[in-house]
């Protein structure tokens, strides 16, 4: 499943909106169009017809209407018609589908985008409806409460401390302030001050949970040959893999992420130095789980963008993690990094990709 013996694929462009708590009257088309235009424009492309394939990720339940993604097609100007697909998943998986399309030779380039407007609903309650519809969903167990249960297990087993969780948050805010003008939350907050705050859904404090954000992100990928033809700098997708694990929370060791461990092994995360890791950890303790599952040491800069604790574009955050790493490779600041995306309660489904300089 490593891409090393396959068509080499390059990330040539990435764009993301600001993470905002409420995009107001802006509809999905208005969230998508600017990032699609920016991602295409950065490399001199004009519209979706200039790439061979387009794939997006979104969730109907955020908009509260079936076929939310159909309106995404309006944002593309798909006239004449385009080769296009959609996953009801984070757009990191739309990237995955696009990579397969390029590997099989049906496309040399692809536009990938994800979008979500979470503000009109109550996201934690909405996400309770992705649980087992007969046994769990009727209880409306929200995803924050499930994450709190996971954090409780970690604390009680001594896998992490509240101070370590607060350190994750402190680092996120500081990194976002230093590096990410699109972040929703940023600043200089000490671990001591964070720990003084009251618990919210114990043992989680509000700052242990990602904010809820509206926005979108977009990316252009292509074969390395095409990137050279276009004459644009690029990051190489060295490998990508994703794994899901059981939905039955009682059957999982919630203090670990077995699926991330598998994806890390399959992608060869440890085969070289990891300068940067962008991890989709919606809750502070989950960053600690992922760091261990990926075998990352203290020499890896984790979430220099601030990660999703600084702003979580539901359905686009995974793609944004990949874009954040790619941009650092494209601008020459690093040679090798990894990105991670997640889906489902308590890190049930995880995607890992290794990116390298050409």
């Amino acid at each position: 499943m490593s891409a090393t013996d396959m068509t080499e694929i390059a990330i040539v462009s990435f764009a993301q909106t600001n993470c905002v708590g409420d995009a107001g009257a802006a509809n999905e088309v208005e969230l998508i169009m600017p990032v699609v235009s920016e991602a295409l424009g950065k490399i001199g492309l004009k519209n979706a017809q200039d790439v061979d394939f387009t794939c997006s990720g979104s969730c109907d339940y955020q908009q509260g209407a079936a076929f939310a993604f159909v309106f995404g097609v309006d944002a593309l100007g798909a006239v004449p018609p385009i080769k296009e697909s959609h996953v009801e998943m984070d757009a990191a998986w739309a990237l995955y589908e696009s990579i397969l399309k390029i590997r099989m030779g049906q496309a040399e380039s692809a536009l990938v985008y994800g979008f979500g407007k979470s503000s009109p609903g109550e996201l934690p309650i909405v996400l309770s409806q992705q649980l087992d519809p007969y046994y769990l969903a009727p209880l409306f167990v929200d995803n924050v409460s499930l994450a709190a249960m996971q954090a409780r297990q970690m604390l009680e087993q001594g896998v992490c401390s509240e101070a370590e969780m607060a350190e994750v948050v402190s680092n996120s805010r500081r990194n976002a302030a230093a590096n990410n003008p699109r972040a929703q939350l940023s600043g200089d907050v000490s671990i001591e001050d964070l720990l003084k705050e009251d618990q919210w859904l114990a043992p989680l404090r509000k700052h242990d949970c990602c904010p809820i954000s509206d926005g979108a992100s977009a990316m252009v990928i292509c074969t390395v040959e095409k990137a050279k033809e276009w004459g644009v700098p690029y990051a190489v997708i060295r490998s990508i893999d994703h794994r899901i694990e059981t939905h039955n929370l009682g059957a999982r060791d919630l203090t670990r992420s077995v699926s991330t461990e598998k994806a890390a092994a399959a992608t060869g995360v440890g085969d070289g130095p990891v300068e940067v890791a962008e991890l989709y950890a919606p809750f502070s303790h989950q960053e600690l789980i992922l760091k261990r599952a990926l075998g990352l040491g203290d020499d890896t800069s984790i979430n220099p963008s601030g990660g999703v604790l600084a702003g979580n574009l539901m359905m686009a955050s995974g793609l944004s993690r990949i874009g954040e790493v790619a941009q650092r490779i494209i601008d020459g600041s690093i040679q090798r990094g990894i990105a991670h995306a997640t889906s489902g309660p308590c890190l049930q489904h995880n995607l890992v990709t290794v990116l390298e300089a050409a």
Binding site: A78, R243, S259
Partner: protein, 386 residues
């Protein structure tokens, strides 16, 4: 270039109004087990699972792959969820095939389903969209004016749709899995059924079904490990266009014509009516048969209804290009699965494994799906020959 892939296992459930005897997980597992048995394989032989269904609101389960991984033996493996409106069953098959054709995996399981009895599709399709005018119409109300425009342009006789509705139910009576079993249906009966969205009568509409469809798709190198004949995937294509734009051709959409041209070029199809032995085409409302006969190049523009009326698409009348021998969407409509059922039934035909609705000697077949406002298309060509 793409690796060669084939369908080596097909499994379906019986389609019916309500499968109260199984959960959603039970439903998809039933189809998956049937597909694995057909392929002579077990769960461990599958590298990845690709799942598709129409909007999550049809059952009220968000991102159901999260919940269905256990039922589909996917724990520890990759799982992808495709959603491209009504074409999703076809798109899911194509995305599954790309897992193999890209050389990334050797063998995958793909499953699509709908359990319409768990919710109300008409409601899910009709809830108001923010910032958009509210059309409380559902699919039939949306397509009826387009059909009327087709009738006006082509001068087709009023009963071409009635003929299709009758023909597909007679086909469905040959298929024990079909939801509607109407072996004695007559054109008079269809004509007398209530008018729902003029010109679409009750019996010219698809039913609402529960059901699931699954396939095992593998690389050429593993085809020999399954006992039955493979269906080789000779081409696959998808196209999308917006729901509305100035000057949009809604009767004979450009995206459908482009998609067909693409898949025909891949498979070396130059004359679809001659080169195909049969086709499984997404016809949820009767009139879409003559309309798609034209869109897909089986007939000249304005002449599709002539094939229908002459019985060319009828197995019972010995037509030269039978369409929807399984009974089609008009006989079973588990929405998210309906596109994959078309793809799978095309594969069954070229495997010579279609039971009483087999087209004798079928070698090459088209599987077709569409969705949204007739704006999303997925098609594949399968053949008994590489």
């Amino acid at each position: 270039m793409a690796n060669l892939a084939a369908v080596v296992g097909i499994g379906q459930t019986k389609y019916q109004t309500k499968r109260g005897d199984v959960s959603i997980a039970g439903l998809v597992r039933e189809a998956a087990v049937n597909a694995l048995q057909d392929a002579g394989l077990g769960w461990d032989d599958v590298d990845a699972v690709i799942i598709g269904k129409a909007p999550d609101m049809f059952e009220g389960v968000i991102m159901p792959e999260i919940y269905l991984t256990d039922a589909l033996g996917c724990n520890g493996k990759p799982m992808l969820r495709v959603h491209t409106a009504g074409s999703v069953g076809g798109s899911t098959a194509l995305v599954a095939a790309s897992h193999v054709q890209s050389g990334t995996f050797k063998r995958v399981l793909t499953v699509t389903f709908e359990k319409q009895s768990e919710s109300n599709a008409m409601w899910a399709l009709s809830n108001p969209q923010p910032f958009s005018p509210h059309v409380n119409a559902g699919a039939g109300g949306y397509f009826a004016p387009i059909i009327r425009e087709y009738m006006r342009r082509s001068g087709a006789p009023y009963n071409a749709g009635i003929k299709v509705a009758t023909k597909d139910r007679l086909h469905g009576a040959r298929n024990p899995l079909a939801h509607l079993q109407m072996p004695d249906i007559t054109m008079e009966q269809v004509e007398e059924s209530p008018m729902l969205w003029d010109p679409i009568r009750f019996l010219e509409s698809c039913p609402s079904s529960d059901g699931a469809c699954a396939m095992v798709i593998c690389d050429e190198s593993l085809v020999g490990e399954s006992p039955k004949k493979p269906a080789w995937i000779r081409g696959g294509a998808m196209r999308s266009e917006p729901t509305m734009y100035a000057g949009r051709e809604e009767v004979n959409p450009q995206a459908g014509r482009d998609c067909a041209a693409d898949v025909y070029a891949q498979a070396g199809i130059t004359n679809p009516r001659k080169d195909f032995d049969c086709a499984e085409v997404y016809v949820p409302f009767s009139w879409y048969e003559p309309m798609w006969l034209e869109n897909l190049g089986f007939a000249e523009e304005g002449k599709g209804w002539e094939l229908t009326m002459a019985g060319a698409t009828s197995l019972d009348e010995g037509g030269d290009i039978p369409w929807n021998c399984s009974g089609g969407v008009l006989s079973s409509n588990a929405i998210g699965a309906s596109g994959m059922i078309r793809f799978a039934e095309a594969a069954r035909q070229v495997r010579g494994d279609a039971g009483d609705h087999q087209v004798e000697g079928a070698k090459t077949a088209l599987g077709h799906a569409y969705g949204g406002g007739a704006q999303f298309y997925a098609m594949w060509v399968v053949s008994s020959e590489k």
